[in-house]
């Protein structure tokens, strides 16, 4: 840093002396465009530095209040990422969600509908536990939810998926079951 400053000062002094005719610096004609090119290159480097490096200290934000966690928000994030098209590990995430929801559904049906766990599992598989075809399709293998054309287009075009729609319906249906028995 220091030697660069010294070099700059010497260059400027020599330049001024040469302009005043005190000294004669014999430089090749090529030197002038070379200085121009170097200047442009350093300018480009400075632009790059100012774009990339951001080492500004992090200032405190006293107005920002601590954000509390809301029960269930974690599951929403999980469902969002598991529903994305073509995500690596998406299938196993979806399986994990399906298993977790099936356990909850069995608990709800045994507790609020008086089923045995086996009977609850059968009803879930057959899709007879609810009138909502989308909710039924979430647990039932052979249950056809008859997705509308609009939904098919939406699922194909956005990150929304049939899995997510059915999971939402199944959970809403379980919530209704529980609300009835509360």
């Amino acid at each position: 840093m220091r030697w660069r400053t010294a070099l700059g000062v010497v260059a400027v002094l020599v330049g001024l002396a040469a302009a005043g005719g005190l000294v004669d610096v014999g430089l090749p004609a090529l030197f002038v465009p070379l200085v121009g090119v170097v200047a442009v290159l350093i300018a480009a480097g400075a632009v790059r530095d100012s774009l990339s490096a951001d080492d500004r200290p992090v200032l405190p934000e006293p107005e920002r209040r601590h954000a509390a966690s809301v029960p269930g928000d974690e599951f929403d994030t999980l469902l969002d990422s598991a529903s994305l098209h073509g995500r690596i590990g998406g299938a196993s995430d979806r399986d994990a969600i399906r298993d977790r929801l099936e356990q909850v559904a069995v608990d709800v049906l045994t507790r609020y509908d008086g089923d045995t766990p086996e009977r609850a599992r059968q009803r879930l598989a057959a899709g007879t536990w609810t009138d909502d075809p989308l909710a039924a399709a979430f647990f039932g293998e052979g249950v056809d939810p008859s997705t509308s054309v609009i939904d098919r287009v939406r699922f194909a075009a956005t990150s929304d998926s049939a899995f997510r729609q059915q999971a939402a319906h199944a959970i809403a249906e379980l919530d209704r079951h529980v609300a009835g028995g509360r």
Partner: protein
């Protein structure tokens, strides 16, 4: 990031770039005008480059309108900064260290000014008081030099504390569980004595209170006899608060956490049991240890009030320290008096909470769960959380553990309704 630190404003890189680009193009195309124009940004950048880091000598005072505010009271905070150095501070920016659990209600805790030697400036803002003991962080100061190119970030510590201790809420008469000795709380003992329920009639002995002499019998037979009532014994109750991270959930991320409702419930249950003569203690399941042994009397009540308001384990924001469930639970069990009942205040948003209630119950400490409900049904995940919490409540009820599910009503009327349902 450790303070103080110095920082150069890299925004000046753009000026360097512009200057050099103008000069370069001017040289290459042979236009002296461009070269001349380039001197302006180059000189400015050189000025910024040559800047030295200022080191202002500041004295800071912070005054608050009250150090013991009520809950939700607006507390006016006034910060006064004086330049005690010999040189002018051309550009000072302040950010006050508002305690993390408090919100700025009015004004702003930021200020920017220039100060000549000996000159002062002050700025003020208001915060809304919350339950707890709050310590202000140091004032954060960013001092720039005249060019704005060099800055020194530092902190000036000023000790300011606020303590908000809400009163113990009105009593909620939560009944206790029947125990081997009968109904506790208004607990009966096999011996006769003073009380309400009839026990036996025995021969009068000198010194028996007049109001316990059976005057009908005396009129009939001429002999004095004394009525014995079932003597009541106080129960021992420990209110346990769930202050793990899961005890700090909220219905909305900007709402107060459900711990505030747990604390309110704990206070109301304490007051209710205290009024019927029980010995009541307080404990938490939390990263920080908190235990107040069961006791009675006004001194104990004051300790409960202060503990519920300001104990570190019940800070309005969750702690970052890890929580060791097994260790905490076994420590709690060691401390619980053998005949103690437990009132467990928990939102029941995870299985650990429900498991803890069942473990304590199985360890012959009859448990009653008081559960403020933090669940809302807005999103799919929140609906699932509500279903799972309902399942936990019914599993506990099936295991014989009463659960007071506290929704939107006041806690006192929720308890009254629950008691009516249980006795129906």
């Amino acid at each position: 990031m450790s303070l103080p630190l110095t920082h150069r404003n890299e925004g000046r890189q753009g000026m360097v770039a512009a200057g050099l680009a103008l000069a370069g193009v001017g040289v290459l195309t042979g236009r002296p005008g461009l070269l001349l124009a380039s001197t302006v940004p180059v000189v400015l950048a050189a000025h910024a480059r040559a800047a030295t880091f200022p080191s202002p000598d500041l004295a800071v005072e912070r005054a608050v309108s009250t150090t013991t505010p009520d809950r939700e009271e607006a507390v006016e905070v006034t910060v006064t900064v004086t330049n005690e150095g010999a040189s002018t501070a051309p550009d000072l920016r302040f950010i006050d260290g508002v305690p993390t659990a408090l919100t700025v209600a009015d004004g702003t805790p930021r200020h920017a000014t220039a100060l000549r030697p000996g000159e002062s400036t002050s700025f003020s803002y208001a915060v809304t008081a919350e339950r707890g003991h709050h310590t202000f962080d140091p004032l954060y100061v960013v001092a720039h030099d005249t060019s704005g190119g060099a800055a020194r970030h530092s902190e000036v510590a000023v000790e300011t504390e606020l303590e908000c201790v809400p009163p113990i809420p009105p009593a909620a008469t939560l009944p206790l569980r029947p125990s081997a000795a009968g109904i506790t709380g208004e607990t009966v003992t096999p011996e006769g004595g003073a009380g309400v329920a009839f026990h036996t009639i025995r021969e009068y002995r000198r010194g028996d209170p007049l109001n316990r002499i059976d005057w009908h019998r005396a009129a009939r037979t001429g002999d004095l006899s004394t009525v014995e009532y079932q003597r009541e014994r106080s129960a021992t109750v420990v209110v346990v608060l769930d202050a793990r991270e899961e005890g700090y959930v909220a219905s909305d991320e900007h709402d107060r956490t459900v711990l505030e409702r747990s604390v309110e419930a704990a206070g109301a249950v304490y007051e209710g049991r205290r009024l019927v003569g029980d010995r009541v203690g307080v404990a938490t399941l939390s990263p920080a240890d908190c235990w107040l042994a069961p006791g009675t009397g006004s001194g104990h009540r004051a300790r409960v009030r202060s503990l519920l308001a300001t104990h570190e384990a019940l800070h309005p924001l969750p702690s970052d320290d890890p929580f060791f469930g097994v260790i905490s639970l076994s420590r709690l069990r060691r401390r619980l008096p053998s005949d103690a009942q437990v009132v467990f205040c928990s939102p029941l948003v995870d299985d650990y909470a429900a498991r803890t209630a069942r473990r304590l119950d199985a360890a012959s400490h009859p448990v009653t769960v008081v559960s403020p409900d933090p669940t809302v049904g807005t999103t799919t995940g929140q609906r699932l959380a509500r279903v799972e919490r309902s399942l936990r409540c019914s599993t506990l009820r099936e295991a014989g553990i009463p659960v007071v599910d506290w929704g939107d009503e006041t806690f006192q009327s929720t308890v009254a309704n629950a008691v009516r349902r249980w006795s129906a």
